[in-house]
């Protein structure tokens, strides 16, 4: 499970809408709780480093950007616990490309942005053997909700 405040969910959605029709991306700054649950305390937007012509359906966070974010988190005694990105005019589910490039342990938030408006949002974690993503429950403030019922 990953826990957010509504403010963070809204920040991710707004970032997706702002960068539409390109993909947005960023870090989730927080901590890992007992039993592997995560609590997000801050979202950390990053400029999509992919070439202009590929930003509609790809994102890239360069290693130096990740290191900068990790330092920022460590200064606050926190960690990078995951990443978010948008899927413009697509479902909020991981693609094969997402799977091929995923790292274990982290949470991957995907927000679907259709015609400039963010709607579905889901969290995913890589299976340790890299065979697939599994949906991860999101808890938002007092309200519990789960990845979009697309299946």
């Amino acid at each position: 499970m990953i826990r957010f405040s509504r403010q963070h969910i809204e920040a991710i959605k707004k970032h997706g809408e702002r960068d539409y029709p390109h993909e947005c991306c960023g870090l989730l700054i927080g901590m890992v709780l007992e039993q592997g649950d995560k609590r997000v305390f801050e979202t950390y937007p990053i400029s999509n480093a992919r070439e202009e012509e590929h930003k509609r359906n790809r994102f890239l966070i360069r290693p130096e950007e990740l290191l900068r974010g990790e330092r920022y988190a460590q200064e606050r005694e926190l960690d990078v616990v995951g990443f978010y990105h948008s899927h413009p005019d697509c479902e909020a589910i991981p693609s094969q490309y997402d799977l091929d490039h995923a790292w274990p342990t982290y949470s991957y938030i995907i927000v679907s942005v259709r015609e400039g408006r963010a709607n579905q949002l889901g969290s995913w974690k890589l299976e340790p053997d890299r065979s697939r993503f599994n949906g991860e429950e999101i808890q938002c403030c007092l309200e519990n909700f789960k990845p979009p019922e697309l299946f």
């Binding site: 359906n57 790809r58 413009p88 490309y97 890299r130 949906g135």
Partner: protein
């Protein structure tokens, strides 16, 4: 003192929680091979098809990206530090006929 591979947070669970791995290997490539021989669960996260280093893994020898040195053949000397730093990549692939992975469980 041998060279050291720094194991990133995300991969430590596949290396018995180890933070560092000491090696006397002569090159970066051989050092990584030693690491995955000792901790075989790391292999799929570092290599595609068992031998090709994944393109989102950046290998630094001290502060230098090995792409700017001699790649995996870069020689090692005592006290060198190898760091594995990820690039985070992904995307919908919309318009490229990508295959959707849709495997949420239990919801």
């Amino acid at each position: 003192m041998p060279a050291t591979i720094k194991i990133p947070n995300a991969l430590r669970q596949f290396a018995n929680g180890q933070v560092e791995f000491d090696t006397a290997a002569p090159t970066v490539g051989q050092a990584l091979a030693e690491l995955t021989l000792e901790h075989s669960d790391l292999t799929p996260h570092l290599y595609r098809n068992g031998s090709e280093l994944r393109n989102f893994i950046n290998v630094y020898l001290n502060d230098e990206d090995i792409r700017h040195l001699q790649g995996l053949d870069s020689p090692l000397k005592d006290t060198d530090v190898i760091s594995l730093v990820p690039s985070i990549a992904g995307g919908s692939g919309q318009g490229e006929g990508s295959l959707w992975i849709c495997l949420a469980l239990g919801f």
